[in-house]
Structures are given as structure tokens and as C-alpha cells.
């Protein structure tokens, strides 16, 4: 490499290390910042602040994506797409809601897009995992729920697996929006109002979606009669 190129390379490295030192100093204080300050920092172009925001929420985002998409590769795509959208549009965030709500709105929209695309292409459906299925009996699903210690009874253990499989299958038959609402309610533990905020809709609409989803699950499980 010519001498002047070495000089340039060294200058570039020294500049980078200087930047890293400054970033390091910032990073040490970033975890102590509240959400609003972090977002403001990130909006000002502080990459470390944005990455801190990502670390605060990305476990929940990935969990939501995994539970909805059921496939790690799809969940990874959702994660990438969602956070890159957040990064590109962060300057538009006006603190009219919490960052968490805004983030979830983006994540759920990305998930909905993926689910709808998948629904439009049935050949892309994830292969269904069939647990050790037993022959369907004529008994009512709800009768099985009376025994709260299924492990004590091998038969009830098998029936419990069957119930789980039925619920999984029923979940796959929900509409993308019903599925997201159901997931956010039961597995993310969000209240319906928060789900409405995340989806950009009213609590009443979310209530209707949850009601329809629950009915579909009940109907599916009623087949155990």
C-alpha cells in the first residue's frame, strides 16, 4: 500500500477509535436515560441511543414475532423489517403515544403483512407438527378440563396434547388480525386498550376481534365432543 494510503488508513482508524470512545462514554449513561430522553437522543442521530432502545424492547418484539409467525426465519425477517422501519421513521415520532406503543404498532403491522402474504400463498404455510394424536373420541373437551392434574392420568395426558394441537390448528385458522389480537392479549399480556393503540384501532374493534377468535377456538375444540 502506498505511503499516503497508510497515512489515510491510520487517520481513519484514529478517527474511528475517537468516535468509539465518545460513543462508549455515551453508552455508559444511556441505560439510565428514560424512554423519552433515549428517543430524543436517537432522533438526534445517536446510534447508541437507538441501539439501547432496541435492546429494551427487542425481546418482546422477537417473542411476538415468533409466536405469530411460528417460524424462526419469518420472525427474524419481522424483527429486521420492524426495527429498520423504526430507524427510518424515528424522526416522525412526535411523542403522541409511548414509544413502546408506537413500536408495537409497527411490529404488528409488519406481522400482519407477513401473515396476510402467507395466507395468500398457502404453499408457504409452515409444516404442521402433529403430536402423538389419539383417535378422536366423542367426549366433550370441557369435560377433560375438570381434572386439573392430567399427569396423574395417562389418558388425560394424551387428551391434553390433543387439546393443544387443536388450539394450534384453530389458531392457524384465525384471520391475521384475530391472531395478532389473541396473541397480544393472551401471550403478551396486553390490555385491549393497549392492543387497540398498537393496531391503530379502537378498543371496541379489538374486543370484537378477540370475541370472534375465542368463538372459533371454542368451535374447534367442541369437535372433541
Amino acid at each position: 500500500m502506498p505511503l499516503f494510503r497508510w497515512g489515510l488508513a491510520l487517520a481513519g482508524n484514529s478517527g474511528r477509535s475517537g468516535g468509539s470512545a465518545a460513543a462508549l462514554a455515551t453508552v455508559t449513561s444511556l441505560p439510565n436515560l428514560d424512554e423519552r430522553a433515549l428517543v430524543s437522543e436517537a432522533q438526534g442521530g445517536n446510534r447508541a441511543a437507538f441501539e439501547e432502545l432496541v435492546r429494551r424492547y427487542d425481546r418482546d418484539v422477537l417473542r411476538l414475532a415468533l409466536n405469530l409467525m411460528k417460524r424462526p426465519e419469518d420472525a427474524r425477517d419481522v424483527y429486521q423489517e420492524a426495527f429498520l422501519k423504526v430507524y427510518r421513521n424515528l424522526h416522525r415520532f412526535r411523542f403522541e403515544c409511548s414509544f413502546y406503543t408506537w413500536l408495537y404498532r409497527i411490529v404488528t403491522n409488519v406481522c400482519l403483512d407477513h401473515l396476510r402474504r402467507r395466507q395468500a400463498r398457502p404453499e408457504d404455510q409452515a409444516p404442521e407438527i402433529h403430536p402423538n394424536r389419539m383417535e378422536e373420541g366423542p367426549r366433550d373437551f370441557f369435560d377433560y378440563q375438570k381434572e386439573h392434574r392430567p399427569t396423574l392420568d395417562p389418558e388425560r395426558t394424551l387428551i391434553g396434547k390433543e387439546i393443544q394441537w387443536r388450539i394450534s390448528r384453530a389458531m392457524e385458522r384465525l384471520s391475521p388480525r384475530e391472531r395478532v389480537v389473541f396473541e397480544m392479549k393472551h401471550y403478551q399480556g396486553l390490555k385491549l386498550r393497549a392492543i387497540g393503540d398498537a393496531l391503530g384501532t379502537t378498543e371496541e374493534t379489538v374486543k370484537n376481534s378477540l370475541f370472534r377468535a375465542t368463538r372459533k377456538l371454542r368451535n374447534e375444540l367442541a369437535g372433541l365432543r
Binding site: 417473542r63 409466536n67 388450539i167 393472551h186
Partner: protein
């Protein structure tokens, strides 16, 4: 919920049981439903079923637990996101506007087809472009400034050259000169070409170095350029001083349309009085009489060459009749002198005839 509305009927309570089970009702709704459940076995059964469903849902193994128990996927996602952010943050390479970049890419990938396409384009432009030009431009007859190249011949080349041959066509105006110099060359152009004109005038003004035939050809070639000062001066020099009478005679003939110009007239007079060749003197008489005959109005000048560096306005003829009565008297005296004393009988006779001709014209 409207405070006046009471949840007392099963059809009102049943749809809310799912929300009762997942704790999404207001305190007031819960209170009313509890009151109804206390008296309604059917709704209690339905609520237990909703509870059982909730329990089953909560017991469901989660995909997140299955795929992300080790944290590897999260680390992978973070790493990929970091790389994507690096790409987004990197300054874009500004390639600027690149016209026809698609064509260059296409051509780079298909060299064979590109060669064929370029040949076709070249052939079409070469054969068709001439027809697309405006007619005036094609004919060269339209108004426009003709810019001539400077001479490229050096003085040394001129002084060492030998003219092997000159071909000129009066109809086309094309002149071809073959030169024997250190490096033989052929000039092929018209009289307006700087090199051609320079060679021709050099030959005439340095007549002792070239044979009469070459000089004669040069005079003939310069005839069309007589309006150009350089060419005209060379012709005047040939008419006055060339040792060969045929060359002098041809030079006078080349200047016949310019007899009204003072310089030409003076040369004609000088030739008339001093040229040793009777034929040349007779030609001078003829040109002067012709000029006088047509000189009641100013003889028309041949159109000036567009590139003409002269004639300057002050060099233009002032008009034959009014230019100088003295000049006319000089011509008459010279003719009378020839009529009486010229050694050649034909010259004396021609001079006498010219004087009669002029007299008759004056009487008319």
C-alpha cells in the same frame, strides 16, 4: 357502559363472559355479571368453560419458548440489524448523473451485438446524414462565413519546391498542384485555399525559378481569384514583368474585368507604353478601349470572394469616367504615341482604330 342498563338476561351476559374470564370488564360490569351468575346455572357453566379455555390457552407451549430459549436467535437478529444500520448509515457513493448508463451496461454485457449496433448506426449516419442537412448547407450556396485554414506550407518548403504540374478546371474551380519537394505532395483544392494560392503567387512572383509553362498555368489558375489582392498583385506583377509574353498576355486577360481599377489601369498603360511584345501591347489597347467603352457607367466588379482580405473600400475603383480626366488623357496620349511611333505596324493601326473608336463614342 350505560349505568341504567342492567345485565340481568342471559343473552346479555353470555357474550361478556369471555371478557369476564380474561379480566377485560369494568368493575360495574363485573358486579352485575356476578349478580347474574349467582342466580343462573347455565351462565355459570358457560363461564367455567371460558375459564377452562383460558387455562388451556395459557398452558399452550409458546413458539417463542421453543425457538428462543437459548437466546441465539435474538443475538443473531441484533447482529443482522446492526449490519443493516451500518449500511444505512454509510454515506452513499455519489455516482452523479450518468446518461445512457443502461446502454453502457447493455453494451458491456453484449460486446458482439454492441459492435454490430455501432456499425449499423455509423452506416446509417454516414449515408443518411447528408440528406438530413438543409439544402443551403449542402450546396454551400447559403449565406455564411467561410473560414479558411491557414497555410501550412513553410517558407523553406516554398523556396525548395518544384512544381511538377498544375491542373485547373474553370468549370469546377478545382485546382490540383503536384509539388516536388523534400517530400512530394499534391495540393488539391480551389483558389481560395491558402496553400494553393500561396504556391501560385509564389510561382508567379518568382518566375525566374519556374518554367513558362508552369507560370502560365499558375496565371490561369489564379484567374478566378483575381479579386483577391494577393492574387491580383501577382497577376499585375506577371503582366508587367514576366519574361514570357504569353504569360504577360494571359495575365492581362485574367485582369480584363478589373480594368477600371487604378492599379490595373496603370499596369495597362505601362504595358501599352513599354511592353516589348506587340501582341501584348495590342491586348493592352483592346482592354483599355473596352474599359473606356463600357466605362460610361462604372464597370461592374466581379463579386468579391467571401474570404477576400481585400479589396478595402479605398482600393475600390472610383468610377472610370469621373475618376480622372487626366487618366483618360494619358490613355489617349499613349494611344496617339503608339499610332505615330510604334515599331509594329499592326500596333499603329490598332491604336489609330482605338482612337477613332473613342472619338465616335465621345460624339455619341
Amino acid at each position: 357502559m350505560n349505568g341504567e342498563f342492567k345485565l340481568t338476561r342471559c343473552e346479555d351476559v353470555a357474550p361478556l363472559l369471555v371478557f369476564y374470564a380474561c379480566d377485560e370488564l369494568t368493575a360495574e360490569e363485573r358486579e352485575q355479571i356476578l349478580a347474574h351468575l349467582a342466580i343462573c346455572q347455565e351462565c355459570r357453566t358457560q363461564l367455567s368453560e371460558e375459564d377452562a379455555l383460558q387455562t388451556a390457552i395459557e398452558r399452550m407451549p409458546q413458539a417463542a419458548d421453543q425457538f428462543e430459549s437459548s437466546g441465539v436467535l435474538l443475538a443473531q437478529c441484533r447482529s443482522e440489524l446492526s449490519e443493516s444500520l451500518d449500511e444505512l448509515s454509510a454515506p452513499k457513493v455519489d455516482e452523479g448523473w450518468q446518461p445512457f448508463s443502461w446502454m453502457r451496461r447493455w453494451m458491456a454485457l453484449r460486446p458482439g451485438w454492441s459492435a454490430v449496433a455501432l456499425l449499423l448506426v455509423g452506416a446509417i449516419v454516414g449515408t443518411q446524414a447528408y440528406t438530413w442537412l438543409p439544402i443551403e448547407t449542402r450546396n454551400g450556396s447559403g449565406p455564411g462565413l467561410k473560414v479558411l485554414a491557414d497555410s501550412t506550407l513553410t517558407k523553406d518548403q516554398l523556396e525548395s519546391m518544384q512544381v511538377a504540374g498544375i491542373n485547373s478546371s474553370r468549370s469546377t474551380g478545382k485546382i490540383q498542384i503536384q509539388l516536388n519537394a523534400e517530400q512530394p505532395m499534391t495540393l488539391s483544392s480551389d483558389e481560395n485555399d491558402a496553400d494553393v494560392r500561396r504556391v501560385l503567387t509564389f510561382v508567379i512572383t518568382n518566375g525566374d525559378r519556374f518554367n513558362a509553362g508552369v507560370r502560365l498555368d499558375c496565371v490561369e489558375a489564379l484567374r478566378a481569384a483575381a479579386n483577391n489582392e494577393q492574387a491580383r498583385n501577382a497577376l499585375l506583377a506577371a503582366a508587367r514583368g514576366d519574361e514570357n509574353p504569353a504569360v504577360r498576355l494571359r495575365a492581362l486577360d485574367a485582369l480584363r474585368d478589373l480594368a477600371s481599377m487604378p492599379a490595373v489601369r496603370d499596369t495597362l498603360l505601362e504595358t501599352l507604353q513599354h511592353d516589348s511584345n506587340p501582341g501584348v501591347r495590342v491586348e493592352a489597347i483592346n482592354l483599355l478601349v473596352r474599359a473606356l467603352e463600357s466605362g460610361s457607367e462604372m464597370p461592374e466588379m466581379a463579386p468579391e470572394a467571401p474570404d477576400s482580405d481585400v479589396p478595402a473600400p479605398d482600393a475600390a475603383p472610383q468610377g472610370w469616367p469621373g475618376s480622372s480626366r487626366e487618366s483618360e488623357q494619358r490613355i489617349l496620349r499613349a494611344l496617339d504615341e503608339l499610332r505615330q511611333h510604334d515599331s509594329n505596324r499592326y500596333v499603329r493601326l490598332r491604336s489609330a482604330a482605338a482612337l477613332r473608336q473613342i472619338a465616335q463614342q465621345d460624339m455619341q
